[in-house]
């Protein structure tokens, strides 16, 4: 935790540009997985939650930290699983490795 405030600010500003640059190239077909995938990525707050819980002192901090860990885990795990389920369905036609796509578990199928 040696970063200076200016260093952190630089990281933030550069990330804004990287973010806009990368996201503007995302195929419109994949905007829903994008939202869901981005959702999973901000689940990285789990790392912060673990550190706050693990290095904090006092009952209040422990309770808040524990709650944060539970919520953040739901965010990160749920986010990646849902995104993967969606992307699994986006397989092109005619590819050499095309296999019949299994209907996702519990999905609407008939």
């Amino acid at each position: 935790m040696t970063e200076t405030t200016l260093g952190l600010l630089s990281i933030f500003v550069l990330s804004v540009f990287v973010g806009f640059e990368v996201i503007s190239k995302v195929s419109p077909i994949l905007h829903t997985p994008l939202m869901s995938g981005a959702n999973a990525i901000h689940g990285v707050i789990l790392v912060g939650s673990m550190i706050v819980l693990g290095t904090g002192r006092g009952a209040a901090t422990t309770v808040l930290g524990f709650l944060a860990v539970v919520l953040a885990t739901m965010n990160v795990v749920g986010g990646f699983v849902v995104t993967d389920r969606m992307l699994e369905m986006f397989k092109g036609r005619g590819g050499p490795r095309r296999q019949p796509v299994e209907p996702p578990a519990g999905g609407d199928q008939r």
Binding site: L8, I11, F12, S15, V16, V18, G19, I23, S24, K25, S27, P28, I29, L30, H31, T32, P33, L34, M35, G37, A38, N39, A40, I41, H42, G43, V44, I45, V47, G48, M50, I51, V52, L53, T55, G58, T61, L64, G65, F66, A68, V69, V70, L71, A72, T73, M74, N75, G78, F80, V82, T83, R85, M86, L87, E88, M89, A105, G106, G107
Partner: protein
């Protein structure tokens, strides 16, 4: 190299993996691999954190992770593809809540010594994270139909909003000036109430815009928590999501042809509108039979299906694919014209059709499909209305004027599948329904499509 420096180096690699994950989404081919790389990066980041210097209560952390996983995995695996938007909202909300809690917990220990910069980051994260938490909860309730999807405006909501805004401002100034934990907690409570008040007045069809906006909020809340903890990993990841949510929100507002402020606050500031097209009462529509339409489709050369919200509601995506396959076997060229806001969130229709195994090469964007509309024999509009309303293009006085549309009216024939003559979400009449080239098929989209499949087989 100290242990902390080693950890931070690993975190940097994880941040790169997140960028790769987003980059992968530029093509359906690489998207899944990209997402898996991001997930792997996340796993490494979490595992690495167990080696954080001075980390205690490891058992409690493990319990928390196990509990969270036990809740999220079944939910994420069971959710139907039509319910994806509310699932995204739910996972987004808990992330926002976590960001607010992290900042609060850290502030609880450091508030007496915190500088004004840290206090500002804490307060920002608490405010935005809190709004995202309850806002997403209301969004979830609306989309899951636990409550009405209509805009709900509480009595004296403007006054309530103003009071809340002023109170929040007081808490922010108090928190900044005194580094007060009490102020931060009060701000958190105000944010939780504000999240509810913010989403209640937004109508069902506009809720997806809110999901996207709240996604950006959570991202920024996480970035702010990263500033509090002085962790570049959180700042990078949170900011990426903030950028993604912001872009998508803009894109949706553009695709709806309405400014964001109107989408969010329209119900609060609304004046009763009289947006009916003149003379609409004495016009008649032509209602066709399933057999007529089946013949029309079976002997067409090129058919474009324009799916809308109604298709998702009727869960008719499998049936529409069945019909398309049948037509293709007869040599008809079939493609799907996807409006950017078709479905319940941007790109949702693509997911629903992909679930029904429609190859994504057949999913065409608005511009692509409009380019060949003149050579299209039949446009089959299933459960869509406003996105094909020519008023958006031709009538400067129309409330939806300026919204990009699919030019269904330029095709040879138009078939509308609707449940009733009720106007679309924008509440305005659609002249295309009365067009001489238009045939109406009333009824539930799934039933009607099923009947069409049978009729085309016989044709």
């Amino acid at each position: 190299m100290t242990r902390l420096e080693t950890l931070e180096l690993i975190y940097l690699a994880c941040a790169v993996s997140f960028i790769v994950a987003l980059k992968g989404l530029s093509s359906p081919k690489w998207a899944r691999q990209g997402n898996l790389i991001g997930a792997a990066g996340m796993l490494v980041a979490i595992a690495t954190t167990f080696a954080w210097p001075g980390l205690h209560k490891i058992w409690l952390i493990v319990v928390g992770i196990v509990v969270g996983t036990a809740v999220a995995v079944p939910a994420a695996r069971m959710v139907k593809m039509t319910a994806i938007p509310q699932m995204v909202a739910a996972f987004n909300g808990v992330g926002g809540g976590a960001a607010a809690l992290v900042s609060l917990a850290d502030f609880n220990m450091s508030h007496s010594s915190a500088g004004i910069g840290t206090s500002a980051a804490v307060l920002f994260s608490v405010l935005i994270g809190g709004v995202s938490f309850t806002g997403s909860a209301v969004t979830f309730a609306k989309l899951q139909e636990l409550m009405t999807g209509r805009p709900v405006v509480l009595p004296r909501q403007r006054l309530l909003n103003t009071v809340l805004a002023v109170a929040s401002l007081v808490f922010v100034i108090w928190g900044l000036a005194a580094g007060s934990m009490v102020a931060a907690v009060l701000l958190c409570l105000a944010a939780l109430v504000f999240g509810v008040l913010f989403v209640l007045p937004v109508g069902g069809a506009d809720v997806p815009v809110v999901i996207s906006l709240l996604n950006a909020f959570t991202g920024l809340a996480v970035a702010a928590s990263g500033a509090v903890l002085r962790m570049p990993l959180l700042i990078i990841a949170g900011t990426l999501v903030g950028a993604s949510g912001t872009l998508l929100t803009q894109l949706m507002a553009t695709a709806m042809g309405r400014p964001l402020t109107n989408i969010l606050f329209g119900a609060i500031t609304a004046k009763p509108t009289t947006a009916m097209v003149e003379g609409s009462t004495d016009r008649s529509v032509r209602t066709g039979t399933v057999d007529d339409v089946a013949i029309l489709l079976a002997y067409a050369r090129r058919v474009v299906v324009v799916p809308g919200y109604g298709l998702a509601v009727a869960q008719a995506q499998h049936t529409v694919h069945e019909l398309a396959k049948l037509l293709e076997e007869r040599g008809v060229e079939v493609s799907y014209g996807i409006h950017p806001v078709a479905g319940r969130m941007p790109g949702h229709m693509n997911v629903l059709l992909a679930e029904a195994n429609v190859p994504y090469e057949q999913l065409q964007e608005m511009d692509e499909v409009n380019g060949r509309m003149g050579q299209t024999d039949v446009v089959l509009v299933v459960g869509a209305n406003d996105v094909v309303n020519p008023a958006a293009r031709d009538q400067p006085g129309s409330p939806i004027y300026g919204m990009p549309i699919i030019d269904a009216d330029r095709a040879q024939q138009i078939v509308f599948m609707k449940r009733s003559m009720r106007p679309g979400f924008a509440g305005i009449d659609n002249a295309l329904l009365y067009d001489a080239k238009t045939t109406m098929l009333f009824g539930d989209a799934k039933d009607t499509l099923g009947a069409l499949v049978t009729a085309v087989k016989a044709a």
